[in-house]
């Protein structure tokens, strides 16, 4: 079944960094909303989390110079068109259901227990300067439309800046930008979150312990997201920062503005991804031309990402530990590898006792540059990933997580705490995601993940809130069951 088609992952996150001296500023990550399908490794294969240094790392190529793979892609696509097979199965849908559900659960649990995120302190973001506590409904409507317009304009400008930076290969700037924003999220926002949780449950904690906890949380998060880390931990961190961002949006965006922004951003997402001149589509195509992954740090991926430097021939062969890398099988090892304390003692994780045992079993093996190159040029013993259903993962942008959770969080934040609305929005979003994945499986190209889910979510939010809720309340009052 299925197969191939290397869609380069391109999920993009639009970033906004706010100027420092503003009192209310929050650095927001308004995010891109594209979901990319990924065929395991290949031209789109990414390095784990941003790969060290913005080299726009080359995909895993077995020690050979990167070769363009489009011809192979075309063939497979032609075959597939004839067979009309589905690229993704139910398994991939579930691989996305679980993290989306987890993110929503975190947001809803926080909203229901920590009252900080539903209190309106009168503070607003600088992107939504118009207040919504006005005298007339008309004035409120106008204010919210203006707020939404400003926000969308900022997002569009940021997207264009990002696309331009990418086109002119200013990778360092983009990397730095992403680094700073995830720094802010992991340290500052999580500190505020923890503080509010302690306040809610009336737990006392001294600043020293708090500092140690936040420091550890943040540093491990930065490592997992931007560099290497166990897959589950990376996924957990991505879910946590999405939830934190969604909570910030829920707190600081006024009511009508928030709904308008959700609606408009879905439309924008649709246009930006599907229109030929849309910025996100340009980004995708540029990345495909260059055979590079984009910003892997801001995409949730359900499978492991192949490490580029596992088969790196540039590493100084200071000891015989490199013998392990000559075997193609080792390329499937997990992402995490404990780093030795100093680069000069880098033995790649192979301790001397392991090497001794290896030499004892296999005889003395010393690979040189030449032998390694020879081995690596042989066809890999590893089955090509394209044919293996199990290896293929699916990716979803963090922006999608954020906006889904924001919608469900707002549904649960309604006064009176109606759980029916929350449940209805949850089911609607999951069904929208399912449909989007179905379309992705059929069309095999970049698709926006927001429009269908947000549309269903909005319809069900308003319908359940205004129509179903009175009906169910009346039924519960009389204890009638339908």
């Amino acid at each position: 079944m299925a197969n191939s088609a290397e869609d380069v992952e391109n999920n993009m996150d639009r970033q906004k960094s706010s100027p420092a001296p503003e009192p209310i500023q929050q650095q927001q990550e308004s995010t891109g909303t594209r979901m990319r399908s990924r065929g395991g490794s290949g031209p789109g294969g990414g390095d784990g989390g941003g790969g060290g240094g913005g080299t726009g790392s080359s995909p895993e190529q077995n020690g050979q110079p990167p070769t363009p793979r489009p011809p192979l892609v075309l063939e497979n696509e032609e075959d597939e068109d004839e067979e009309m097979t589905l690229k993704y199965g139910a398994k991939h849908v579930i691989m996305l259901f679980v993290p989306v559900t987890l993110c929503m659960v975190v947001v809803v649990a926080t909203i229901k227990s920590v009252s900080f995120y539903t209190q309106k302190d009168g503070q607003r973001l600088i992107y939504t300067p118009f207040p919504e506590e006005t005298d007339t409904v008309a004035q409120r409507a106008v204010n919210s439309i203006l707020n939404a317009t400003i926000m969308i304009t900022v997002i569009i400008v940021m997207t264009l800046v990002l696309v331009l930076l990418y086109k002119y290969r200013c990778y360092k700037v983009i990397q730095g930008w992403l680094f700073l924003s995830s720094l802010l999220l992991l340290f500052f926002f999580s500190y505020i979150y923890l503080k509010e949780v302690f306040k809610t449950y009336n737990m006392a904690m001294d600043y020293f312990t708090l500092a140690v906890i936040i420091w550890n949380f943040g540093v491990v998060g930065m490592m997992c997201i931007h560099w290497k880390g166990p897959l589950r931990l990376q996924q957990a961190y991505l879910i946590m920062i999405s939830a934190l961002m969604a909570l910030v949006f829920i707190k600081y965006l006024p009511e009508w503005t928030a709904w308008l922004i959700l609606a408009v951003i879905s439309v924008y997402d649709l246009l930006a991804v599907l229109c030929p001149k849309g910025p996100l589509r340009i980004l995708v195509e540029t990345a495909q031309e260059r055979n590079e992954p984009i910003f892997p740090a801001l995409i949730y991926s359900s499978t492991m990402v192949w490490l580029v430097n596992m088969a790196d021939t540039d590493r100084p062969k200071s000891n015989s530990a490199e013998a392990g890398s000559a075997q193609p099988d080792s390329q499937e090892a997990a992402m995490a590898s404990p780093e030795p304390s100093s680069p000069s003692q880098d033995n790649g994780g192979f301790s001397s006792s392991w090497v001794r045992q290896q030499q004892h079993q296999l005889g003395p093996l010393q690979s040189t540059e030449e032998t390694r190159r020879e081995v690596q040029q042989m066809p890999s013993a590893r089955p090509p990933v394209e044919d293996d259903d199990e290896e293929r993962g699916v990716k979803l942008g963090l922006g999608d997580f954020i906006f889904y959770s924001m919608l469900v969080g707002k549904a649960s934040a309604t006064v009176g705490g109606d759980w029916n609305t929350t449940l209805a929005c949850f089911v609607a979003i999951l069904i929208g995601l399912c449909l989007t994945l179905l379309l992705l499986a059929i069309f095999k190209k970049a698709l926006p993940a927001l429009p269908i889910s947000i549309f269903f979510g909005l319809v069900f939010y308003f319908a359940t809130g205004y129509l179903v809720r009175p009906f169910m309340d009346e039924l519960a009052l009389h204890q009638f069951y339908i």
């Binding site: 259901f97 169910m472 339908i482």
Partner: protein
């Protein structure tokens, strides 16, 4: 009230359903998807019924209590009929989707049989129906309060939980019987399912006389359960083999020693 009542009622209401989900559905992605799709269909049917009820309330006399109650009863009946209609619509959709899936997957057999779909979709309907009926009540039961302080029944939470459990299981049985009846074009069976659903809903009009509403509901539940069991291919012989762990087909399929 508080935690004891909350946990007790939650497990009474959702215990069997969650157990069924964990043991039979959670491991199969396709079944989970169809479960959620079933829940979605139930939700849409409820939306339409609420819309009609809402409009009828707006145009009616809001002061007359009897008229409001009459409208509510009308709403309940309409909702039941719409639910069954959407069950039929879901059946049609699943038939089409199954054919499509078969064509796309190039395999000989369908990845999921219509019987499994009947079970899963019934459970999906049940989950959503039960959740919408009881979650708000459960959320209220966590907080402080005295049940029935104004003279109402003290068994509100407990009876709600038992009723919800019955409804969830009933939806599952109805799903199995309904789909099978549609497959074999036995329209009398379809009508029987609709009538029994109406019966159960109308029995709840007698609340808070819980004896009059819960006991017949459980009788209907038992009868529907037996009917669904035989529809799904069960028999006394199968049951005996299953309970004494001697069912060879099942053991083989699960790689267990005899």
């Amino acid at each position: 009230m508080t935690a004891a009542v909350f946990f007790g009622c939650t497990f009474i209401a959702f215990g069997p359903a969650i157990a069924l989900f964990l043991f039979t559905i959670a491991r199969e992605p396709l079944r989970v998807i169809f479960l959620i799709a079933g829940a979605f269909f139930w939700l849409v049917s409820l939306l339409l019924a609420s819309l009609v009820w809402f409009i009828s309330v707006q145009i009616s006399n809001k002061d007359s209590a009897s008229q409001q109650k009459g409208l509510l009863i009308f709403g309940v009946v309409l909702s039941v009929l719409l639910q069954e209609t959407f069950r039929f619509a879901y059946y049609k959709l699943l038939k089409k989707a199954n054919e499509g899936l078969l064509a796309l997957s190039q395999e000989e057999t369908m990845p999921i049989s219509i019987r499994q779909l009947a079970y899963v979709s019934g459970l999906g309907f049940g989950f959503m129906s039960g959740a919408f009926s009881v979650v708000n009540i459960l959320a209220d039961s966590v907080g402080p309060g005295t049940v029935g302080i104004h003279g109402d029944s003290q068994h509100y939470f407990l009876s709600s939980a038992f009723m919800t459990m019955a409804i969830i299981l009933l939806h599952m049985f109805w799903g199995v019987v309904f789909f099978d009846a549609c497959e074999k074009q036995r329209w009398w069976a379809v009508a029987a399912v609709v009538v029994s659903h109406l019966l159960v809903s109308c029995l709840t009009f007698q609340n808070p006389e819980y004896v009059a509403s819960l006991v017949p509901t459980y009788v209907v539940l038992f009868l529907m359960g037996v009917w669904a069991f035989y529809t799904a291919g069960g028999s006394l012989r199968n049951l005996k083999l299953c309970l004494t762990c001697k069912d060879k087909d099942f053991l083989l399929a699960n790689h267990r020693p005899r």
